[in-house]
Amino acid sequence: MTVLRVNTAIVGGGLMGCWTALMLRRRDPGHCVCVIEKGKVGAQASGVNYGNLRIQGRHPGQLPLSLRAASLWERLPDLIGEGCEFDATGHLYAARDDAREIAKVETAARQASEAGLATELLDARALAQRWPWLNGFSMASWSPRDAIANPRLVTPAVARAARAHGALIHEDTAVHGAARTGAVFRIDAAGGLTIEADTLINAAGAWAPEVAGWFGEGAPIVPAGPPQFVTDAVPYFIRPSVQAVDGTVIFRQVRQGHVVVAGYPRSPSDPVANRAPVDARKIVNAMGHLLRAVPALEGATLLRVWSGIEGYLPDMLPVIGPSGTTPRLVHAFGFCGHGFQLAPGVGDVLADLVLEGSSRTPLDRFSIGRFADGSAEVAEHFTREFDRSLQVQAVAHPGAQRTR
């Protein structure tokens, strides 16, 4: 048996875990930190997501964190020494000719500007002028600061940077259990590895409720993923990332020419069997939605479909912050399909909490306690953008009394 003594142990080597390790080491080179990952770093949601670094359209409570993350993304090469295809392409949040959709976009734009993000509302004529290939939208909010990056590359690059800064990264090492005795966490991991730590961070993605459970806490995670696909390479012409507010289609094009697409509704995925099935009918639907939005892609072909295992929470907000039961246990999970963009911000905020005890970024909306005291609401998204079985799960959670 090997015992490893660290200041902070992080369960989960996704984006959250790796960014946190890097930020801790950058800010306090004396802080001993270890990431424990059951598989490979960034092989789950962090490595298979759509790659949107979207700021606009988020819940207003997330915007300060999102903006903090954005300024870190914009310095990516400084922070990790690699670019990972980060590209500030801008993002269009687009409504069809539908009063509810238009209202939603206008609200998002207003909330963005209140939070300090510059966006521009464009009508159908302006859209046609700037992006003549785009079809079927009556207006949109344009956020030039929003960006994209290559999710396959980011987490391993962050992990390498963290390691170069002195963080320990253990791959292929599942954590089987953890407990706190006195002021020390004892963490049992695969291969007879025991880790002792002052602080424990639960960044275990869709698997995080299991970790929380070891400390008598829970959160109603719904594991799911959106159906996604990629086309063959076509000459590059789609500069922005485009998102229909009704969730039917989200697409972007990479420089090499492939168009990456996320569809809807989200389907159940299985964290135990480690499977994220993709329903062919949803893909065919999304192909139709894509072609209506970009008729010029008519001749392209479908190359590959996939999805991932993401933890969604009924109110579509993550859990970020201290445990309600255990001192120096910090949670960061349940990113509800938005965590790629937030990740560096989350890493920085968790470093605040670990090193300083509090953060200047407001985290009150993200407390795990909201599920215990019943104050969490079920977001409207759950009624439209998820399979019915997932809606049932979300609504059945103990804190669902005040459903909107």
Binding site: R130, R239, G257, A300
Partner: protein, 103 residues
């Protein structure tokens, strides 16, 4: 520069009706029942250039497995040349047709 000489060789007498197609605008005689790949490679040396390095490609497996032989039709649709048969009047392109302007 003269176009390089095609090297793919038809060895059987084509008794079939001929089909007239265009390849990048050149009018070319092909034969009913023939694959687009044969029609193109009996006319020129390449089917397309590679997206990444721009090198010429001419298909490889000739049985629908490697996907190296996708070409374009003038209407923008892509076809797999080795498993698609020529049709009279077909307009084949060895590069993508001009798309929407870059954003």
């Amino acid at each position: 520069m003269m176009p390089a000489k095609p090297r793919l060789v038809r060895v059987l007498d084509r008794t079939a009706a001929s089909a007239t197609i265009t390849i990048d605008g050149d009018v070319v005689q092909a034969f009913a029942g023939e694959s687009v790949l044969v029609a193109v490679l009996a006319h020129t040396t390449r089917l397309r250039t590679h997206e990444v390095d721009g090198a010429p490609r001419a298909g490889f497996c000739l049985m629908g497995a490697c996907q190296d032989c996708w070409v374009w039709l003038a209407d923008g649709h892509r076809i797999r040349a080795c498993t698609t048969r020529v049709v009279d009047g077909m307009a084949v392109l060895t590069g993508p047709p001009a798309g929407p302007a870059d954003a």
